[in-house]
């Protein structure tokens, strides 16, 4: 049970906030958010210690410390422990940056907002843990359903409700498609345990049921297997906003309340990628022969990056721009996903990119939140002359922009470096994809620094200084520290990411 610590904390936090919702209104909710943050902080610290302990122990010993009935559906390897600690960190940061929002903007149900964030984070953590199709799907669903509600929290705001409706309809359809794929896979193998699935798909030991259903050839190249896997790819593609399943993303991000957007841009996306790692890279990747999903994902990956970045250049609403930017970032991470032949680099690259992505995206959104708490809008012209009104916000944006664009010495650079290392692997040789990737990095500089242009080069109409709220200010500070400190800590990070990936190789 020890190693399920982050999940227990998140669960307790969600239930606690639900109870607290009975009592608190307005300002009280801000205090609850702060408490929630401190609980998460303590949890993250403990989680990291546990992680070090788990890596030290090795996977077998860690597994033995966990009761059998849990270990059958919940993995307790270092990688999953890491991802649940990351979920805890996301939850803590989200509590911080939504502090002013629940205090001042959200008139009704402020504590429910916090509870939903905690439950969604619990979902992310459980996705990382799942070693069973059923657990995996329902953890993903926990994230999604909390997300629908989060984006519709402003009940009197038509745009917020519209975002919620779109998110809900598209999310539900994608879940249904993914479920259909899962039912096919279950039918052909007779199992929902991911390890059994891996052996079945990877080595062609399809269950007798498969033959009953009229499948003559039993292999990963079988049309029914491919249909199942592709249905799952489509479902996951919706979750991570992969082109052409990205249409919902800009609308939802723009319409949802800004703190909810900030959370949605990191939380469900991280969950989607963790599910991709578990399902596509570790389960449906036969050790010999072609990988059934690799070719389509390869092309969609290039499209995702390019479309995200090119369309982002045209946006004038910052939330919409960051939505397209997050689509583009999905594309970059997908490079590592399709480079799965690079055994010692692909998984660490995803781990590293996700850490960097969480930090820089939370940071960039916190800047947007801080300003929208005061100005009430996210239009790019609201940022005119910001460097004089609040140098802290402006320079923080510059650092986050550098990181998002992959300019050193920031965490985002490390993520990109690793992703490209995986793509240029001799066993992968995706040279053209790497070139598309770096070309996109250059394009992205244009729009990230267009905001910096408005902050620094353009004189604003309003000149009075801005008082950055406590919660958003702290969230910015923490992500700023994280973004910059990861470079000196790089060796530690690599050791960790690599050892986690090695453990998984034996999974």
């Amino acid at each position: 049970m020890l190693f399920l610590f982050p999940e227990l904390i998140l669960c307790g936090l969600g239930l606690g906030a639900t109870v607290a919702a009975l009592f608190c209104r307005g300002r009280g909710a801000g205090r609850w958010a702060l408490y929630g943050f401190f609980v998460c902080l303590a949890g993250v610290v403990t989680g990291l210690c546990l992680l070090a302990y788990a890596i030290d122990l090795g996977p077998e010993a860690t597994g033995q410390l966990t009761p059998e009935f849990i270990a059958r559906t919940f993995a307790v390897d270092p990688l999953s422990l890491f991802f649940s600690t990351l979920a805890l960190a996301v939850c803590g940061l989200a509590m911080l940056f939504s502090m002013e929002f629940v205090e001042e903007v959200l008139e009704e149900h402020p504590a429910e907002f916090l509870a939903l964030i905690a439950f969604a984070s619990l979902g992310i953590a459980c996705v990382a843990r799942s070693r069973d199709l059923i657990t995996l799907f329902f953890s993903l669903e926990l994230v999604s359903i909390s997300g629908y509600l989060l984006s519709g929290m402003l009940r009197r705001e038509p745009r917020s409700l519209e975002a919620a409706l779109k998110y809900f309809l598209i999310g539900a359809v994608s879940s249904a498609i993914m479920l259909f794929g899962m039912s096919l896979i279950y039918g052909l193998t007779g199992a929902t345990d991911l390890r059994v699935l891996r052996d079945a798909v990877g080595e062609g030991h399809l269950h007798a049921v498969g033959q009953l259903a009229g499948v003559r050839m039993v292999s990963s190249q079988d049309p029914m297997v491919i249909t199942g896997i592709l249905c799952i790819v489509v479902g996951l593609g919706f979750k991570i906003a992969m082109v052409p399943f990205h249409m919902w993303c800009p609308d939802v991000y723009e319409g949802a309340p800004t703190p909810a957007t900030a959370f949605l841009s990191v939380g469900p996306k991280a969950a989607g990628f963790v599910a991709i790692v578990r399902l596509l890279m570790l389960t449906f990747a036969p050790s010999s022969g072609p990988v059934p999903w690799a070719q389509p994902v390869l092309w969609l990956c290039a499209l995702t990056m390019t479309l995200g970045n090119v369309v982002a250049c045209r946006q004038t609403n910052l939330k919409r721009m960051l939505a397209y930017s997050s689509i583009a970032h999905s594309g970059y991470i997908l490079i590592a996903v399709v480079s799965l032949g690079s055994a010692d680099l692909a998984l660490p690259a995803i781990v590293m990119y996700l850490i960097a992505y969480v930090l820089m995206n939370v940071g960039a959104f916190s800047v947007v939140i801080a300003l929208s708490n005061i100005e009430g809008r996210e239009d790019i012209h609201a940022y005119n002359g910001l460097s004089k009104r609040s140098p802290y916000l402006a320079y923080a944006w510059v650092i986050f922009a550098m990181s998002l664009a992959g300019v050193p010495p920031t965490a985002g650079f490390l993520g990109k470096l690793y992703v490209f290392m995986a793509a240029l692997d001799d066993r992968v040789r995706l040279y053209w994809l790497a070139v598309v990737g770096v070309a996109n990095a250059v394009i992205s500089v244009w729009y990230y620094f267009r905001v910096a242009r408005h902050m620094f080069f353009v004189e604003g109409v309003r000149t009075e200084p801005i008082r950055v709220g406590r919660g958003a200010g702290w969230a910015i500070g923490l992500s700023l520290a994280g973004t910059l400190v990861l470079v000196p800590l790089f060796p530690w990070l690599i050791s960790f990411a690599t050892s986690a990936a090695q453990v998984l190789g034996a999974w």
Binding site: E162, F180, S183, V209
Partner: protein, 118 residues
Amino acid sequence: MGFMLGDILESLGQPVGLRHCLVFAALLFAVGLYGVLTRRNAIGILMALELMLNAVNANLVAFWRYGPGPREALNGQVFAVFVITMAAAEAAVGLAIILALFRLRRTVNADEVNLLKG
């Protein structure tokens, strides 16, 4: 190709078995998907969605029933029960959102919900 249309049609003449269930589920899923894509009323979309989920349930239960050892491994049934629960939760959340939107805009037509563009 494992599946040939002729094969399938021919086997449908035999006593009811896994194939019938699978074809039924696939058709149900297709109907649901068609409904989701063409309905303009949000409630209608929600109903079509339920069809898709029920197709999945039919699949799961059929695979479980015709698989070997249906008494030992209950995975399919358990999965189906979970899916039913989830469908209920989704319907609740979806209806709540649609209701709130209806109060505000006096419409449940998905085409008229178009403030966010670009």
